[in-house]
């Protein structure tokens, strides 16, 4: 009984923590410390939940308010969602550590930490909820808190980027509402498990295809998949560093989660069609993201475009759809969050030490000569992005390519492997410009800047997950097997 309700805690702790942090708005240090404590407690609880779910192999289901499944709102902690929650809480904890050591004036804004915690609430909520409409509400929470955090950024154009993002994600929310409306009109339920059961029983109701299309469009906007990517580099480059590290690493994983649920649970009958589409989008994303990253003149934008190509790899894994490929996609998702948040924090660190606060290559060229530690971290991060051995990026790419060859997709593997090589090109070019080139005459490195604790921790995790990747791979493999059997999820929620 108690364990059941523990699944609520990763959502409730940051939410209540945010409210209490609001009361502390006059004392900055107390507020920051409180926020860190909140997110750490939430992280510990979610790790405990993960071990619990993994050991028993059964999801933890909580029916809020005691109403049984199709009528009440259920929160479902199955292996997939709990793993995603642990991933996001890890990165959010690092983000708060970075914000505490940041010299940006935006972190002094009294609403900064509460909004940050609300962002964490929204993300864990979307992962844990078992109800489509609830997912919409939590997604909206992410959108609003993310937009406000960007709009108050130190960057002069933060508001413009926020405005752009808000428009496009408002459209995504509208798409989601239309999709929910279509599915409700066709099947008369919003509970994901019951919907999955009814769709599996009869998968040719008139509005079903419209519902699938609108939900896909929603998740494509949320993950910035190729045709809907245009807002992402602007938004991620203009946000405050601590926030952009969250947005570009874990918040974009919302769409990935949605696609996993769509192909393995909700629309199993139509999964081959969706998967074929995802592979095509993924290949385009990998190529387009890599080429765009080469064409940028700003380290943060380069990393944002690199997210586009890494999301492409994950979509290809989901698209192949074998349990091994899904496991590879999950490992890739997990590893990418750590790599990308660390890299963005390093880019923000450089910007904070530059004469003008910007991560543009013109400003940061040669700045690294005085900052060797960040150079080592950035180098390891680049290796991880490109997928070169002692890092976790290698494990995720190896697993993905291996699953592709097993699935008989050697052609696609070759194609994305070649496109993936471009990663080395752009990340090493950035490394060269920042740490090897001589700085232009008269440029100075500022004495004080952001602290490096958070990137050191994240790069440490990158190395640890690269050297001892067994645990994560086993977890992902079990999750892939669990996802292969949607009946387990439906039965656990509906208690039939």
């Amino acid at each position: 009984m108690l364990t059941e309700h523990m699944i609520l805690t990763p959502v409730l702790i940051p939410l209540i923590g945010a409210m209490i942090a609001l009361l502390m708005r006059r004392t900055y240090r107390l507020q920051a410390g409180w926020s860190l404590a909140t997110i750490l407690v939430s992280l510990i609880v979610s790790i405990w939940l993960l071990t619990k779910v993994w050991r028993s192999g059964q999801p933890i289901v909580s029916q809020v308010g005691g109403w049984t499944a199709p009528f009440g709102i259920s929160l479902v902690g199955d292996p997939l969602s709990v793993l995603f929650v642990v991933m996001s809480q890890f990165v959010f904890a690092a983000g708060i550590v970075y914000a505490m050591g940041s010299k940006d004036s935006v972190v002094r804004y009294p609403m900064f930490y509460p909004l940050f915690l609300i962002l964490a609430t929204g993300l864990t909520g979307t992962f844990l909820t078992g109800d489509l409409f609830n997912m919409y509400v939590f997604a909206e929470l992410i959108v609003i808190s993310g937009t406000v955090l960007t709009a108050v950024s130190d960057d002069r154009h933060g508001t413009e980027a926020a405005y752009k993002y808000y428009y496009i994600s408002l459209f995504a929310s509208f798409f989601m509402l239309i999709g929910i409306g279509c599915l409700y009109a066709a099947y008369g339920s919003l509970n994901i498990a019951e919907l999955a059961e009814r769709i599996a029983r009869e998968d040719n109701r008139p509005l079903l295809l419209a519902g699938i299309t609108f939900l896909m469009a929603t998740f494509m906007v949320k993950s910035a998949v190729f045709p809907f990517h245009f807002w992402q580099p602007d938004f991620h480059a203009a946000a405050p560093t601590a926030v952009s590290a969250m947005l570009s690493s874990v918040v974009v994983k919302l769409g990935i989660y949605g696609f996993l649920r769509m192909t393995t649970l909700l629309f199993v009958g139509h999964a081959p069609m969706i998967r074929g589409f995802l592979v095509v989008l993924g290949v385009i994303g990998v190529a387009f993201g890599s080429f765009s990253a080469i064409g940028t003149h700003n380290a943060k934008r380069m990393l944002a475009y690199s997210t586009l190509s890494q999301i492409g790899f994950i979509l290809i894994g989901i698209g192949w759809g074998t349990p091994l490929a899904v496991a590879a996609a999950i490992v890739f998702t997990f590893n990418h969050s750590f790599i990308k948040s660390a890299m963005l924090m390093l880019a923000g660190y450089l910007a904070s030490r530059a004469s003008v606060k910007s991560a543009s290559f013109e400003v940061v060229t040669g700045i690294g000569k005085a900052l060797p530690l960040s150079g080592i971290l950035f180098f390891i991060g680049s290796l991880a992005l490109a997928g070169i051995p002692p890092t976790n990026g290698f494990i995720s790419k190896l697993l993905l390519f291996r699953s592709g060859i097993d699935a008989g997709q050697a052609g696609t593997v070759l194609l994305v492997g070649l496109a993936g090589l471009l990663t080395i090109f752009y990340s090493m070019r950035a490394f060269q410009r920042i740490w090897w080139h001589n700085p232009p005459a008269g440029s100075k490195v500022k004495p004080g800047g952001d602290h490096l604790f958070a990137p050191i921790f994240l790069i440490g995790m990158v190395m640890v997950l690269g050297l001892w990747g067994n645990l994560l791979v086993n977890l992902a493999r079990d999750t892939g097997q669990w996802l292969d059997n949607p009946a387990g999820y439906i039965q656990a929620v509906l208690r039939r």
Partner: protein, 111 residues
Amino acid sequence: MEIITAFAVGLLFAIDIFQTLRRNILRSAIGLVLLASAINLFLLSSGAYNGIEPAYVSETGSVQSDALPQALILTAIVISMGGTAFVLAMINIISTRYKTRDMDQVNGLKN
């Protein structure tokens, strides 16, 4: 009644999409507000829709509408109201910062 609702939803969608794509940022925000109401109307008709019948009736056995979409709309209305206020606040900042109301002039973000 159903046919009127269907036409109203269609017409609203057409007007709103035209309006959101305008270059004037304020007109475009008005389009966004209207779009939210078009979607609410669509959600209302997605339930077991019986025209003007209420959701709750006291006597048993009589016709009644599905209550769930109405609850959904209530949530959606509240969220879109907050969103509208936020969009207007951002428009205020943008129009003072960029000294324009033309979306094409708001182009500070460069590659």
